[in-house]
């Protein structure tokens, strides 16, 4: 019971935090805490096989899948914890409390018998005992789960697969498209400005500075902008750049002004 009393508060705390943290990644990590704790509880409950499965399958496989998807999807407005449906949060809280109270009160009324313990059942080892059950009493359910898993795998492939309806765009087509867009909409045909090129830092979260000293929004990733983790170029940085520019003006004036014009057009 010592294990339980140590882990139980941690688990409840972690679970509660899932409700309130803003970022999905944090939620996933908190869930990992809960799941690891659960694994330990399984171990303490004489279920070594489930302990292993909980760590390998749940924490190892499923949570990692969650993290993969999170990275694919990126960050968007859904991470906000601001409620959009009127009354939803209040009602959810009230109902949740009522539900919890009902469960707790209801379960408190139950008279629990003495604990039998699994010593007898696990006499020949937990895994062989489970295998005995799984391949005898639960054989049909077990086979049905295999069918379910295959169906799920195929289903996931079908859902995630994207059919290519048009031929793949190769370099000549891409070049032609860019020039056409430049001609029609005036979009800059060249590559976007690299982040940090004209700034003091060349990290990806630092926007490039345009010749007039303003930061170029095009030079930073959209995901970073959504997360709000862009470093601002300080006024000192701008002054530094301007000073450097004026020092090298004599040698590079014509070239840099041309490039500046082009960038103006691109915007």
């Amino acid at each position: 019971m010592t294990v339980f009393w140590i882990l139980a508060p941690i688990m409840v705390l972690a679970a509660l935090c899932i409700l309130f943290v803003r970022k999905a990644v944090h939620a996933a990590l908190l869930l990992a805490v809960v799941m690891m704790s659960l694994a330990m509880l399984y171990a303490s409950l004489d279920a070594p096989f489930l302990f292993a499965v909980q760590i390998i399958v749940y924490t190892g496989a499923i949570l990692m899948l969650f993290l993969f998807v999170l990275m694919l999807v990126g960050v968007d407005a859904s991470d906000s914890v601001v409620e959009t449906i009127r009354g939803q949060r209040l009602l959810a809280t009230v109902l949740g409390l009522v539900f919890g109270a009902t469960l707790v009160i209801g379960l408190s009324q139950v008279t629990w018998g003495t604990v039998v313990g699994l010593d007898e059942a696990n006499a020949g080892g937990n895994v062989p005992a489970l295998a005995n059950l799984l391949f005898s009493k639960y054989i049909f359910a077990f086979e049905a789960t295999s069918a379910l898993l295959i169906t799920a795998a195929v289903g996931a492939m079908v859902l995630a697969h994207r059919e290519k309806l048009t031929p793949k765009e190769k370099q000549p087509e891409a070049a032609a498209r860019r020039m056409r867009e430049y001609a029609e909409t005036g979009r800059h045909p060249g590559p976007l400005p690299a982040p940090g090129v004209f700034a003091r830092h060349n990290a990806v979260d630092t926007p490039a500075l345009l010749p007039d000293g303003s930061p170029s929004q095009e030079s930073i990733s959209r995901v970073l902008a959504a997360r709000g983790t862009i470093r601002s170029a300080s006024v000192d940085d701008v002054d530094d750049v301007q000073r450097q520019l004026s020092a090298t003006e004599s040698s590079e004036s014509s070239e840099s002004s041309d490039r500046a014009d082009e960038q103006e057009d691109g915007q």
């Binding site: 449906i85 939803q88 009602l91 959810a92 109902l95 949740g96 009522v98 539900f99 009902t102 469960l103 009160i105 209801g106 009324q109």
Partner: protein, 638 residues
Amino acid sequence: MTTLQIPVVTPVDGGGVLSLLWLVIALPLAGAAILLLGGRRTNAWGHLLGTATALGSFLIGLLTFLSLLGRDEGDRSIGQHLFTWIQVGHFDVGMDLLLDPLSALFVLLITGVGSLIHIYSIGYMEHDDRRRRFFGYLNLFIAAMLTLVLAADYLVLFLGWEGVGLASYLLIGFWQHKPTAAAAAKKAFVMNRVGDLGLSLAIMLIFVTFGTTSFAGVSAAAGGASEATLNAIGLLLLLGACGKSAQFPLQAWLLDAMEGPTPVSALIHAATMVTAGVYLITRSNFIYEGAALAQTTVVAIAVITLLWGAIIGCAKDDIKKVLAGSTMSQIGYMMLGAGLGPAGYAFAIFHLLTHGFFKANMFLGAGSVMHAMDDEVDMRHYGALQKAVPITFLTFAMGYLAIIGFPGFAGFWSKDKIIETAFDQNPWIGVAAIIGAGITAFYMTRLMLMTFFTESRWSDDVHPHESPKVMTVPLIVLAALSVLGGFLLLGNWIVDWLSPVVGVAEHHEPAIPALAMTAIVVIVVAAGVALAWFTIGRTQVPREAPQDVSPFTRAARADLYGDAINEGLVIRPVGNLVTGLMAIDHTIIDGAVEGQAAGMGGLAGALRKVQNGFVRSYALSILAGAILVALAMLVVNL
């Protein structure tokens, strides 16, 4: 009265010429069908066909009448079964015809006067584009009227009754381009509906009471019914008769009906259709004999109507409306006769026949005068026409003398008999009838003077001329009948002839000798004529009707406020009732129904918002459901 034997209708099969009876109806019906369905192809000869069918009908009617004359007195009730019309359970209505002394007289009147008017119409309607259609309608009317009088069953009678109503509507509104004519047709139709409602209710009551609607069955069983039932049937039948015969209180349509062509006024609204009420009451004598209250009501209505019509007749300047008022009044006399029981039935029918002759004669004469005066109807624009239209004047004069009861003429005999019988029954009724006769003499003399005598008040562009032969010949025939109609009473013939149908009255000595009575009537009539002579014949008749007249004249000019009474007592309250019912329907009933629908719609609209598309909201309700289940389990297990 209690010892009276009520005659039972027991038709027997006639052979020989009597089996042609159905042709009497079929001929004009076929004529109407050909003329109305044939369209323009029949334009050229349509009027000739229409007249031919009417004449054919008259010839067959005459043959059957003669054949009836040749039979024994108790053997003169001929039935003819054409086909079974309705057979539902115990309700069995055959399309049966009944020719007995009563209907035979009617057949002769309808087809005879009808044929003359057909002939007259050939001339009168010559310049009308729709003459063929007019003859089609006339034939339709004749067929319907003959169905009415030849029916051996109340239901078949009702068929003819509605048929004449339809024909009357079509003919009053014949000049439908005139709004007044269209309105008059509608008014006549609607007011007749009121009466028809009474008749149909009476037929239903008859069926409920006796289990049959045939005259034979009802007359055989009438003695067994309670007096209250018979009174109810009698009053309902009287309502029907009032509608068709323009009796008080359903009299208002007849004056407006003069919007129709004059031959129509002569045939339908003077000689035949309007007498259907008298026929109905005479035919239903077996019911009225046991219904004292209904009979008294008939007499009361008859007296009111005969005075009402006569007073209206005194004030009108429109020649046709004077004649219409007079018609109303004369039918009142007939109703009076019919209401007096077996003693009066025969005289009612007698007066009906003579009136049919002289009133048709005068209406056609009026038509001839209008023909001469370019369709002018205002008598104030006539005057001194006896030279311009001599034949019309002479024939009209015969009719005039007949209607006022000049000794020797047809009307003298018939009206005198009714007054005499009425006096026997109740002196007050007799006095009212005598006063009516005096007023009749006054307004007819006034009409005569204003039209044919006094100085001429014609418009400048009017050149009166005598009508063509085709119009004057019927006038002459009818004038002859007006003079000689009294011969029907010769040797009490008509009373004996009708006795198998209407029964025989006990003979008793009148309180006042017949001759003295006749003398009184003649004196009163002479007084009426003299009054007219002194007020109109001796004075200048103004071309425009004077406005500063006594309230009585004004009331009489306004049909004694018949329309206003209808408006105030019936139309406005019923209209208000309907408006109220509509308001109730719209607010309460529709409100309840539509409110329910709107409530459900609103509720659904509100509940619809629950389906807001947010998965999380649905999850919330699922959680709520889970809580309910958990609580339920808790409650059950605790």
